[in-house]
Symmetry: C2
Subunit: 376 residues, 2 copies
């Protein structure tokens, strides 16, 4: 069988998926002001808030897992009818616009309740927003590299190399956030990477071992860029973690206005997302949009996909807020396995022995991650 | 690549290998009397003996790992020149005879030092020896089943199903010896099984999933028989573990004469091994032996293989004595990986991505087994 990451291994999907990583949430009525973020509260309170936090963490993690796995299924579904008829860049633009609108809606609620204050007003300065495009820029560089790496590896090989992201996230998480993982949790993280790769093995996978040195270097740089952007986003959500070691940019974004409302920050992040995607439309799909219209080829499934991506973006931001990058990586890995299992029923997939073995290893890894935590 | 278990996946090898499991050691001058077995001493002494025990455990485990991996290489080597020219049953018989001789040599040393006593004299009664053939009989049943299982699975599929032995050893170890593994160690054991199977994956492995119900049942029964024989042998070596729950037979063998010298017990076990293999010669290779002679087709490599198998038998018995079945399973699993790596240099093997992933999982499993122990 082909786990869905390979199934949906086309460039467009990757691009739309990677851009999820720069999402921030719109919080709604949960933890709307950074000053009283749940983790800050938990640090000086008892079991009740710990339980509440655990419950929130579980719910947002489950939501992200379900959204991510249905994402891949929607993509397989939309491909079933043939190829994509719409411009993927316009879909990405719509996702950013939708999230921007959701941020504004959340802000409107807050304005109604608390009134417009210095912390939640929308207007901003160049000094405040100049660091926001950093994650978006990191992903842009990564997406550019993506075009070049195919000179060295084929598409299924690239899917396998993408599992390096798991390792890079762990390493950067350790270096930048200075949060210690226990030895058992490190072992679990290595297993997660090995298990995900095993689940994706197919008869042609061995070719990836013939990847030339340049290909490996590019794959490692791409994994680092992606991991760095993820950790950067987490820092963005958790002012309490911002360590001195984390470059000047992150410092600037957090230290300057620690009490600034997160929805305002999200709003500006999404505005940059819209700008980046508008540029992508101009470069890639200008002719198609001019000749056939912006929404050409949109179907019900396209609309569902855009909705799903926007909600996933919110879920990612909540996981970053209530949990961390490590949980996010686990969540998306489990989602990959879930998609393959669901695909057996929906698309008559066949699961390989490698998939069962990989899933077993990933399951043990999930167990070890939580078992390792208890011992600290 | 083909890790050597598959390479040496022919029936003859399996048979010669399985019979290793009923080996008991000849102890030599180490812990010659059950009454003062090292583990008994350690229970009421300090760090020095703990360290000595740890050192012994490490040395015998390394010896078993090296002997097991060179075993498979010798087999590949002997096959390089073509097919086997000798009768495998006569080789098995020679292995038993050699071990019998080594037991006698160890006994002779003891007789010289301590004189012949009630505990170390060779003569025995029917009551004492009647339970000795049990492990041999278990393996005989298993070897018979082996001929029938090929109606349901092919040879590479059988190699994959053999990894069920790892799980059965763990489960029986838990049930019969009542020795607790920590949760982390259980997780490690599941990983060992998944990792070994992953390392052996090849493009045709998926066929094993189509194994019919009868095939699965037979594989499970075979794994249980093999696991039971292994645990039985361990009980045989460790009087202090013999629990009430372990059937009457094991009771009989241990409780009756707890001070009986282990080399006497081994001697009789090997005599039964010789009898069983003599019967196998009559059934399988009678014509060849009568027409071409007992030692037809023996080469230097055949002789080395017999020597290696006899020494492996001794190493297994020492691992059973100073360590346990779990360590033995780890040792043979690591040996399988070692052989594949050595084969890259010797036979120009190519290692697959699955092999690297499986090896990673096995390595993490080995780490977790010892990390899990520390936390108890």
């Amino acid at each position: 069988m082909q786990p869905n990451r390979s199934v949906s291994g086309d460039m467009e999907y990757r691009k739309i998926k990677d851009e999820d990583n720069i999402e921030d949430g719109v919080g709604g009525d949960i933890g709307t002001s950074r000053g009283v973020s749940p983790s800050t509260v938990a640090s000086f309170s008892g079991g009740a808030i710990d339980r509440l936090q655990w419950k929130r963490k579980t719910i947002v993690t489950l939501a992200l897992t379900i959204l991510t796995s249905s994402q891949a299924i929607l993509i397989v579904w939309s491909k079933r009818a043939g190829k994509y008829d719409y411009s993927v860049t316009t879909a990405n633009f719509m996702v950013e616009t939708l999230k921007c609108a959701l941020s504004l809606a959340a802000l409107a609620r807050i304005w109604k309740k608390q009134g417009v204050t210095e912390d939640n007003r929308l207007s901003t300065t160049f000094d405040e927003v100049k660091v926001y495009p950093i994650p978006a820029a990191l992903y842009l560089v990564k997406n550019l590299l993506q075009y070049y790496i195919f000179a060295y590896v084929n598409a299924p090989g690239y899917q396998i190399l993408k599992n390096l992201n798991i390792i890079s996230t762990g390493v950067l998480y350790r270096i930048i956030l200075k949060k210690q993982l226990s030895e058992i949790q490190w072992a679990a993280f290595i297993l997660l990477c090995a298990g995900c790769t095993t689940a994706q093995l197919n008869p042609t996978s061995d070719r990836v071992l013939q990847t030339p040195f340049q290909g490996w270097m590019m794959a490692i740089v791409m994994a680092l860029l992606s991991g760095f952007a993820g950790v950067y986003t987490e820092v963005n959500f958790k002012a309490e973690f911002a360590p001195q070691s984390f470059g000047a940019a992150a410092h600037a974004i957090i230290k300057k206005r620690p009490s600034r409302n997160i929805n305002v920050q999200n709003f500006w992040l999404y505005v940059f997302g819209m700008i980046f995607n508008a540029m992508a439309i101009l470069v890639q799909d200008f002719d198609a949009v001019v000749n056939k219209g912006f929404f050409h080829g949109y179907t019900l499934i396209t609309t569902l996909m855009i909705l799903n991506h926007a909600l996933s973006g919110i879920a990612v931001s909540m996981v970053m807020k209530y949990a961390d990058n490590i949980v996010k990586v686990y969540s998306t890995s489990v989602a990959m396995l879930l998609t393959a299992v669901v695909s057996v029923f929906l698309f008559d997939f066949h699961l390989s022995l490698a998939f069962f073995l990989g899933s077993t290893v990933v399951s043990v890894s999930v167990y070890l991650h939580s078992a390792g935590k208890l011992q600290r």
